[in-house]
């Protein structure tokens, strides 16, 4: 049986809420990268510009999150790095996949 990992520093943080928040953040980021892929694919962006669009939309999503939280990151997440910047690489492959699919569907095939 796996025990829930309790670290001593986290005794001040409500674990359940933090977990819910991170799940929502992950969903949000997946939506963001899906949209970025669709935009990059339909507009026919090429090469590095496409990756630039991904980074740009990622930062826009983080900015919207900040506005929604009223800039009080500590109430919702552990740190601002966690909430805004940490997961940028994990959804990159998803973005690439959607980009390739939509680029092919719209522009080439």
């Amino acid at each position: 049986m796996e025990e829930p990992k309790i670290e001593l520093d986290d005794l001040e943080v409500n674990q359940e809420r933090l977990k819910q928040n991170t799940i929502q953040l992950k969903n949000l980021r997946v939506y963001g990268s899906l949209n970025a892929g669709i935009i990059a694919g339909i507009l026919g962006m090429d090469g590095w510009i496409g990756i630039g669009i991904y980074v740009a939309i990622f930062l826009i999503v983080s900015a919207c999150l900040a506005i929604k939280m009223n800039f009080k990151v500590k109430e919702y997440f552990k740190s601002s790095y966690d909430a805004y910047y940490s997961g940028i690489g994990t959804d990159l492959l998803l973005f690439l996949m959607i980009w390739v699919i939509f680029h092919n569907l719209v522009n080439i095939l």
């Binding site: 001040e12 990059a40 998803l94």
Partner: protein, 268 residues
């Protein structure tokens, strides 16, 4: 490079079907894993060797838990627990580390039929489907170009992305159908599936990428932990770790922490 015009029928009958079929297989695999998990019953301990394994596992868990949560214990309790585990003559960890090293053949859980069934199920829901899809795609859809990747690539990717297409000077951007299979595989159809259907709190269904990486590194995916040839070293490492723990009882700091939280709360 001049642009290649790709027939509409390729899109209708190759590109979209591959995506749709892979997506459905992914969903089916998720349902299959769920179904098999529901039917999993508690494992019965069947042999003496397994009992010994369980005892070792519990000992390591206990020492790790102590090392992690030592702040919750007052000084006397912590010292007693640590002595129980780490004493040089009578401690549990010392005794456990003096057992002879396990025979590697024996220590593999192949002997245990339940664990083997588990491994089979894992393999089934992961590798078999991948292999099946690969065979399907490469049998039916090989030999033509299916699309174009939007980014420039080097010539090294040509063999991977243009398998079956024998035109020499074709731009590496034009890909064959097996590469769209790879893109879909690595790109994470799982995430989309989780987004659409995974609102329960299971955060992880199965991870073919992780399994594939583990297979590539040569380690088989073993369901149980601690299959090492020398458990003695493990216990000695645990013991040195426990002996090095600097213990403070968190209750002493708790009034300061409460003050800090209260201040933070009042400031808002």
């Amino acid at each position: 490079m001049s642009d290649i015009l790709i027939d509409d029928r390729i899109r209708d009958w190759v590109f979209l079907p591959i995506i749709i079929v892979m997506f459905m297989i992914q969903m089916f695999r998720g349902l299959l894993t769920k179904y098999m998990d529901n039917r999993k019953t508690a494992q019965k301990v069947t042999s003496k060797a397994q009992v010994a394994e369980m005892i070792d596992k519990n000992i390591t868990q206990q020492s790790q838990r102590l090392a992690r949560l030592h702040g919750l214990l007052p000084d006397q309790s912590f010292k007693m627990k640590r002595a129980y585990l780490c004493d040089r003559e009578q401690g549990i960890l010392t005794k456990a580390s003096q057992k002879p090293a396990k025979d590697p053949m024996q220590s593999m859980s192949m002997m245990n039929p339940v664990a083997m069934a588990d491994m089979l199920k894992q393999n089934l829901s992961g590798i078999v489907f991948m292999a099946l899809q690969y065979q399907w795609v490469s049998y039916f859809f090989s030999g033509f170009v299916i699309g174009k990747v939007p980014f420039p690539l080097t010539q090294k990717f040509r063999t991977m992305l243009q398998r079956g297409v024998d035109v020499q000077n074709l731009d590496v951007r034009y890909i064959s159908s097996i590469s769209i299979y790879f893109v879909l595989l690595f790109g994470g159809l799982q995430k989309i599936q989780q987004l659409m259907f995974g609102d329960d709190t299971d955060e992880f269904v199965d991870d073919t990428q992780m399994q594939m990486q583990m297979q590539m590194m040569g380690m088989p995916t073993m369901p149980s932990f601690g299959q090492q040839n020398d458990p003695g070293k493990l216990f000695i490492a645990e013991r040195t770790r426990l002996e090095g723990v600097k213990h403070t009882f968190e209750l002493n700091k708790s009034s300061d922490k409460a003050l800090k939280s209260l201040k933070r709360f009042l400031i808002q």
